[in-house]
């Protein structure tokens, strides 16, 4: 009891001294997708500049709601808001980092990068129309690969997530039937399959269930040594998921003509682009109540774009291409005064 009182006094004292030493502690909240990177960035930023960034991983929808309510200095979302909604709420929006969604399979004899899939076939699998691994639709694009006569088990995310949003957004772009029957959103009414909670839940299910297919973020596929599939991109090439192919998708996307960077980079053009690449977005008030802290938040992102690339790559994210960073800085100068 006594110890805990002494301890809490000490904590309060430390907190008070920290508060006094630093003018602005920037707070942000939103997508869980960027949480590991935000933690790393804010720790390194603190070492470099003594400034503190506090990021809460509460989900994209929560991030959008919190920034609109003005309780945080920046919000984060895996789904871009359209310029109209941004204007209504007085928000600006810019990308923070690139990632990607990867189809992973568990089929005996098929190693990572051996299976090829096209967008329409992937959509048909998740629609429950292609039910066997040796279906002609899969066999015809995988000549020479021994596909088993097994029923496909589909694994999807059970929780609402940006990963699901980007995945079904891609399926809607490549399959009119998917668009009509299921549509897109952070969670959808899946026609078939079972749901795992979080990337780790989907990874665990796919690893345990024979003849399963699911989708996870790249880092989970790599860390769990899962068999990812090659995807045919908009240019017709079969591409492996990697930092390079995600970066290619981000670079080939038409950011210049996207107002407020409101662009989903799935099915991006370009020979080397991974088709299910994803962007995380940061939301801030154009005219923040506390201009000082808004400025501190922008300085943090400017620092992260400049000095945070190695950390991003180490955690299997893809840093933004330099051309895009220039556009973001011009956007800041234009929109925040």
């Amino acid at each position: 009891m006594k110890l805990s009182i002494r301890l809490s006094t000490a904590i309060i004292a430390i907190a008070a001294s920290v508060g006094a030493a630093q003018a602005a502690e920037v707070t942000g909240a939103g997508a869980s997708f960027v949480f590991p990177l935000m933690s790393k960035w804010s720790a390194d930023y603190n070492t470099a500049t003594q400034n503190k960034i506090n990021y809460q991983s509460i989900g994209s929808s929560g991030g959008i709601a919190q920034i609109k309510a003005g309780t945080v200095d920046f919000g984060s979302s895996d789904k871009p808001l359209d310029p109209k909604e941004l204007a209504e709420a007085g928000l600006i929006q810019f990308p923070s980092v690139i990632g990607g969604v990867v189809p992973v399979v568990h089929v005996a004899g098929i190693d990572a990068g051996k299976l090829k899939l096209t967008g329409p076939v992937l959509a048909d699998i998740f629609l429950g129309k292609v039910t066997q691994w040796n279906d002609p639709a899969i066999a015809s694009i995988n000549e020479g690969l021994a596909l088993p006569d097994g029923k496909i088990t589909i694994v999807h995310r059970s929780d609402g997530s940006g990963t699901t949003f980007n995945f079904v957004n891609y399926l809607s772009k490549v399959s009119p039937e998917w668009k009509e029957k299921v549509g897109e959103g952070t969670s959808v009414q899946w026609p078939v399959g079972l749901g795992g909670k979080g990337n780790e839940g989907v990874a665990a299910y796919v690893k345990q269930i024979k003849n399963a297919i699911g989708y996870v973020e790249l880092s989970f596929a790599l860390q769990n040594k899962m068999s990812f599939a090659l995807m045919q991109n908009a240019a017709g090439k079969f591409i492996a998921p990697s930092a390079e192919s995600f970066a290619a998708a981000a670079a080939s996307a038409d950011w210049t003509n996207a107002t407020d960077f409101s662009l989903i980079i799935t099915n991006a053009p370009g020979d080397g682009s991974w088709p299910i690449s994803a962007t995380n977005f940061i939301l801030m008030h154009a005219q923040a109540k506390d201009a000082e802290r808004a400025k501190a938040a922008r300085e943090f992102f400017a620092w992260a774009y400049e000095n945070g690339k190695a950390q991003a790559s180490a955690l299997d994210y893809v840093p933004l291409p330099d051309s895009l960073i220039k556009q973001i800085e011009a956007y800041w100068a234009d929109r925040t005064k």
Partner: protein
């Protein structure tokens, strides 16, 4: 003398201080009791209020519709209600006989030195966080279900008439039956410790009279111990059932989280609590409203189940009164 007698016959008025203190104390106690009621009503009503948007949109359909489509904003609670009841029923079907066995063994059969350690071990089970049960279920139980249990059920029970379709399904190991198993293990400590505590209270002379009349152990237990402790045993069972209905994390790991109706217990399904836990973080507007209303539905389901339990108990007591 007379003065003393007079003093004794007329009771002195209570000290005002004592009276006030007593009154204050009784108000304080009443407040603590009502606090629970207020919290309960507050939680239920705020969920109903949060769900008013969907209630206005769907009306009574919400409680009977099998649709759950966040993209088109159409919501119905029937499948999660079904999943909640089925997984809880499976859990109780397994947990009640096992708990009965544990309690009997510990009170009637086990040597005295064994009773303490085994009893404590079972109570320890109750203290394990539910997420640990979920992970254990996913990484240990699911492979066993996939490789051994599901194929066996498919071959043996799956071919029977009537109940056959309940045991036919793909060998994925994730589904309502697995969720029921995990729930059963979580519920056993609650039910068995209540049963053990009340079995101990049965007077020894009752049991010894039965033994003296030549009764077997089973007859003593079934005809003496159980009738004597009936209402407390049923209370314990419903305590466990309450937990099984509301359990979230452990179920979310192994139930498959699919809002789709299936007769088969081997197919993935979902429960009210698991669905809320999965989707709440990313839900906005109407979807959030639907999840809050679903929370209210869980209140009602639990309330109805516990009310039925009370009715059963009253029925039992009345029948005993007639005998």
């Amino acid at each position: 003398m007379t003065t003393i007698a007079a003093r004794d016959s007329v009771p002195r008025p209570r000290s005002r201080r004592d009276e006030l203190q007593d009154k204050g104390f009784s108000y304080l106690l009443a407040f603590t009791a009502f606090l629970v009621l207020i919290a309960l009503a507050g939680a239920a009503l705020s969920m109903l209020w949060g769900g008013r948007e969907v209630l206005a949109q769907e009306g009574w359909r919400f409680f009977f519709s099998t649709e759950w489509n966040p993209v088109e904003n159409r919501y119905g609670a029937l499948i999660p209600i079904f999943g909640t009841l089925v997984t809880a029923a499976i859990a109780m079907l397994i947990a009640v006989p096992v708990s009965f066995g544990i309690a009997l063994y510990l009170t009637e059969i086990a040597p005295a030195w064994l009773r303490g350690p085994v009893g404590s071990a079972i109570e320890l089970l109750a203290g394990i966080p539910s997420i640990i049960y979920g992970m254990w279920g996913l990484f240990v139980l699911v492979p066993v279900m996939t490789e051994h249990v599901t194929p066996w059920l498919n071959d043996h029970l799956g071919t029977l008439p009537l109940i056959g379709p309940m045991f036919q399904g793909p060998p994925i190991g994730i589904g309502m039956l697995t969720a029921g198993f995990v729930l059963a293990i979580m519920v056993i400590p609650f039910v068995s410790s209540v049963m053990r505590d009340v079995f101990v209270t049965v007077p020894t002379r009752l049991k010894e009279s039965a033994y003296a009349l030549g009764a077997t152990k089973w007859e003593v237990v079934w005809d003496v111990v159980l009738p004597y402790t009936k209402s407390a045993v049923i209370g314990g069972i419903f305590l466990g059932l309450g937990r099984a209905l509301g359990e979230t994390m452990a179920v979310a790991y192994v139930v498959g989280n699919t809002v789709r109706f299936s007769v088969s217990l081997l197919e993935p399904g979902t429960t009210i609590a698991a669905l809320i836990a999965n989707d709440f973080a990313e839900a906005t507007d109407t979807y959030r409203s639907a999840l809050l209303l679903l929370g209210f539905v869980l209140f009602i389901v639990t309330f109805v189940v516990l009310a039925i339990a009370r009715l059963m108990l009253m029925q039992l007591q009345r029948r005993e009164g007639l005998q």
